[in-house]
């Protein structure tokens, strides 16, 4: 029963993602932090990843690498049917196979998609476990199913849940759109589509579960050790204090590893029965079917614009499908980013018999931005306006299209200016599609807005040892983004040390609490907490130094592993000499306390892309991308730039190649592998130039920093789409923009 409850909660995950990570009411800090006054030496610089060498030399342990004495291998039997009733299940033969230690029925009633877990086996090796799966006898009664969004929307199509497949889930309106359309000189309506994407992190999902008496220890490839711990405790009905979750290194998650997974539960149950640790690692195919996807969207946008570029009205009708799970709310960029008095949004989720959706790097914003930003270029063309001018014309420093509260900081205008200059905006075709010949070049851009605020009550410790060594400790997790590195950089900078002087400890629920790594919240949560702890440690040491040097602690400076008299730098004491006077290790607790309300906290950016379209073969080549982001103070430029490169590569990939392919009659995914589900390769990567706007948010936290996880993923497909439009004079209007679709679009243009 407990497990069921949990599953129900998971079903509504896209909304809870929104609730969990978006800016919300926070405890009010007692004093404003004034981070803009601080000066740093390491922060905002280029510190190489402190764990880079370990990772590239294969020494860093991933969940796949965990090996324990007596380890058993778990495998999961999955439904071959898109919708079926389980009539009976016979585990006897599988149980009797030598080497099999446990067989578990996981599903009793109905299966709702191909790949849903039905039973699990633990055996002494993978080979026997797989063999045992084939010996489990399940009798199904197959039922009618529907696996494509278009089919599911039809009235008489089989129902996925009790109610109709089409469900309203997000409405918004302000002003009166009809009035706005009347005031407009041009009104346009267009439909854009995005295909379902699969997260496909490099490291597939997996967990290892081990019981130590009544205590459960789980090694998990997860973005959220604390969520997994709490989920396990609840589902197994044991105290949270009896569950420990560890995550050392991981090869990405992109939202697909944000909570407790059903296979982790299976591993825990199998381990309980067998009294042995159990490891379950999912295959690439299982990753394609069952651990999440980015919902598709069919977005019809309507907009009105005056001759001078004033946007009068915008409306959106969106049908979005995330399988048996919810679709994505795609309207937020439209609601927020441009000055616009009249808006109307109706979003509907469309259920199908396919694997459940999960948040995928900027859920909703990626699809919404692709459609909105492409649409704006068409609006601009209607009134013969430079599309960048249209965006500037409707610029606002208050959220909700100028009708809300002020942004605490917003450097989007600078993003526009830098991006346009660096790409050579003047080089674009003044009229979309005006160039001739087989190969046509074009330049386009897209705007990004995202959340990226921290999570109040995040805790972190800095521990000083009498021998001068220092630990930075936080119960967060590094997805591969560089969390470990800035966790060394911040205390090092604060204490006048080097990053290599700091031992970073993360990825364990025994450490001070930190939330999931999602929603671009990690840096603005962890960085201020660790800074808070480091400042406390520094101030404590300053006092000690002041006594030793017999000066006022106000006059103490820190640098080069020394505490010194700022008025007489020759008078100093080394960090090591100071800590020697500590009789024992000393822990300083830090916390991110929150930010003042009354302001909107968002991240901003703009991508500018140059493409070449081969009009004979329909192939799009992205030549160059200029990415400009405003994320407050950058903690570490080196890893921040990597983050942007990753976002752009993924964006190019989904703009041009990626899409889940379903067979409507069999109900199965046809490309559950990395041959047919095509990810961009290094050959497909454009030249990338990255800039960060030099702004420090004055109140968000003690460092003035915002998040960067999602932002670089958001505007890239729109920038490419608009560059294609600029090249050939028509939008492809559907991702992925593969040659077949490009050729079809060009044909439509000719006709």
């Amino acid at each position: 029963m407990a497990e069921k409850k949990f599953n129900k909660k998971k079903e509504s995950s896209p909304l809870s993602y929104h609730e969990e990570y978006r800016d919300k009411k926070t405890p009010q800090p007692q004093k404003t932090p004034s981070p803009e006054k601080e000066r740093f030496t390491l922060i905002s610089g280029y510190t190489p990843r402190i764990d880079g060498e370990r990772i590239v030399t294969g020494k860093a342990p991933f969940t796949h690498d965990i090996n324990l004495r007596g380890l058993l291998y778990g495998k999961i039997l999955r439904s071959p049917h898109a919708c079926a009733q389980i009539i009976s299940m016979d585990l006897t033969k599988a149980k009797n196979l030598p080497g099999v230690k446990a067989v578990l029925q996981l599903k009793k009633e109905k299966v709702q998609y191909v790949g849903e877990q039905v039973a699990a086996v633990a055996a002494v090796n993978e080979f026997i476990a797989e063999k045992a799966l084939k010996m489990i006898e399940v009798e199904y009664k197959t039922l009618p199913f529907v696996v494509t969004e278009e089919e599911a929307m039809k009235k008489d199509s089989p129902r996925v849940h009790e109610n109709s497949n089409v469900q309203k889930f997000s409405d918004y309106s302000r002003g009166d759109v009809e009035k706005g359309y009347q005031e407009a000189h041009a009104v346009l309506e267009k439909t854009f589509k995005t295909e379902i994407e699969i997260h496909h992190p490099t490291e597939t999902h997996g967990s290892v579960a081990k019981w130590e008496g009544d205590r459960l220890v789980v090694w998990d490839s997860t973005q959220a050790i604390h969520n997994v711990r709490n989920g396990l405790a609840k589902a197994l009905n044991i105290p949270q204090s009896q569950v420990k979750v560890i995550k050392k290194y991981m090869g990405g998650g992109f939202g697909s590893k944000l909570g407790l997974n059903d296979y982790t539960m299976a591993a825990a149950k199998l381990a309980k029965i067998t009294h042995n640790p159990v490891k379950i690692i999912l295959s690439r195919k299982e990753n394609s079917l069952t651990v999440g996807n980015r919902p598709s969207s069919i977005q019809t946008l309507k907009g009105g614009v005056k001759k001078d570029g004033t946007i009068t009205s915008l409306s959106l009708i969106n049908y979005t499908s995330g399988g048996i799970g919810r679709g994505d709310r795609c309207s937020e960029p439209m609601i927020d980013i441009y000055r616009c008095p009249h808006i109307k949004v109706n979003e509907y989720t469309v259920y199908t018999h396919t694997g459940p959706s999960r948040p995928t790097r900027a859920p909703g914003h990626v699809q919404g931005t692709f459609a909105l930003e492409s649409f704006l270029d068409e609006l601009a063309a209607e009134i013969d306006m430079d599309p960048l001018e249209l965006r500037k014309k409707n610029y606002t420093t208050k959220n909700e299209g100028g009708t809300g509260i002020p942004y605490s900081s917003k450097g989007l205008d600078q993003c526009y200016q830098i991006g346009a200059q660096k790409i050579g905006w003047h080089r674009r075709n003044k009229i979309p599609g005006q160039s001739n010949g087989r190969f046509r070049k074009g330049i386009g851009m897209g705007t990004q807005i995202w959340w990226g605020v921290g999570r109040p009550e995040t805790l972190a410790d800095v521990m000083l040892h009498p021998d001068g060594s220092v630990e930075a400790i936080c119960g967060t997790q590094d997805l591969g983004t560089g969390t470990r590195t800035y966790m060394a950089v911040i205390p090092a900078d604060t204490l006048g040390l080097k990053p290599q002087d700091i031992t970073v400890k993360i990825g364990n629920t025994s450490y001070p609490w930190c939330g999931a790594s999602g929603g671009s919240t990690t840096t603005p949560s962890v960085a201020p907490a660790i800074r808070d702890a480091a400042v406390k440690a520094r101030d404590y040491l300053k006092k000690m130094a002041a006594e030793k040097l017999e000066i006022d602690s106000k006059n103490i400076g820190v640098a080069d592993r020394k505490f010194f008299n700022q008025n007489n730098p020759n008078q100093s004491i080394t960090f090591k000499e100071l800590t020697e006077d500590l009789s024992r290790e000393k822990v300083f607790h830090g916390e991110y306390v929150g930010r003042p309300s009354g302001y909107a906290y968002n991240t901003f950016g703009a991508h500018f892309a140059e493409v070449e379209v081969d009009t004979q073969t329909g192939k799009i080549k992205v030549i160059k991308v200029i990415a400009v982001h405003e994320i407050g103070r950058v903690m570490n430029k080196q890893t921040a730039e990597s983050q942007v490169v990753g976002g752009i590569t993924q964006g190019v990939s989904t703009a041009l190649f990626e899409g889940r392919v379903m067979d409507p009659s069999i109900g199965t995914v046809l490309n559950p592998n990395l041959i047919d589900y095509k990810l961009a390769t290094s050959y497909d990567s454009p030249e990338i130039e990255i800039h960060f706007v030099d702004i420090v948010d004055p109140r968000i936290n003690n460092l003035g920093t915002k998040g960067l996880g999602e932002p670089p993923r958001i505007p890239i497909a729109a920038a490419i789409s608009n560059a294609v439009y600029n090249a050939v004079g028509i939008h492809v209007k559907e991702t992925p923009m593969t040659p077949d679709k490009v050729l079809q679009t060009l044909k439509e243009k000719e006709a």
Binding site: Q616, T668, I675, S682, Y683, D684, D740
Partner: protein
Amino acid sequence: MNEFKLAQPQSVGQATSFLSQKPKGCHIMAGGTDLLGEMKNGIIDAEVVVDLKSLPELSFIKREQNKVRVGALTPVSELAENSFIQNEYSVLYEAALSLATPQLRNVGTVGGNLCQRPRCWYYRDSQILCLKKGGHKCFAFNGRNKYHAILGGGPCFIVYPSDLAPALISLGAEVIIASSKKEKKIPLEEFYVLPKENLLQENILQPGEMLKEIQFPLKGSGEKSTYHKLKERGTWDFALVSAAVNAQITNQSFKEIRIILGGVAPIPWRAKKAESVIKGNRITQSLLQQAAQEELRDAVPLTDNAYKTKLVQSIMSQAALSLVKT
């Protein structure tokens, strides 16, 4: 993957005798880049795997008096790195280099490439029993078929995925087939069969037979060749459509020309109609267009793959014209 026995023959004779003993569940493994995928995904259940890697003598590239000989076990990367091939047989060099990724080229062999199984996604799903696997229906026909055949299809609509096959056929290659009884030599072009003739396999190999060697004539004077491959992404991709062209050019016209298309048909597709339009005529863009149209007269696109006709037109003239320009 099922349990299986691994046979490591010490000679070609031993290999073919293994093969003849247990023809049914017996599979040849060369590099294994394709075979192991089929086994792991449960598409085939092998009882015996005959591992040709124990026969290094089948890996060679030899230039003789009037022909070039390539052993079946030669890694694809060696074709791409061999300077003689690079200089004399652009079509083969370019095809080898266009194929998969460096890792796969290092492990995959020429023989394995010519004998690889189809990539149709219905075929590659172990839970789907389509015509090719002895079932009653081609799921691609009314299903998702953007990568399927526009020429020569029916009742199965696979495209033959090999990049080396079109290139080698354009060079007039022959293959030596060994069995426990005898060896035979046939043109590579005749090695492949349409589904109409044999649904279950793509070539004429009989149980107990294996591909031993590939041979092709030395390059003639005035002969030029090239391989063009259109893929969705920059690398690590099978051809949407490809064209191997080998021609003899005199006075701005093609005296002789062989065009073999990949990615369009269940076999490497010899574009004979296009060849006859082109042969002996002055090379112009419109001649090449006309040739492509002639070839495509027989094309029967499925629901999702009509765009391939446009790609054929583009690639054929692109490839042929590139020979004139260089």
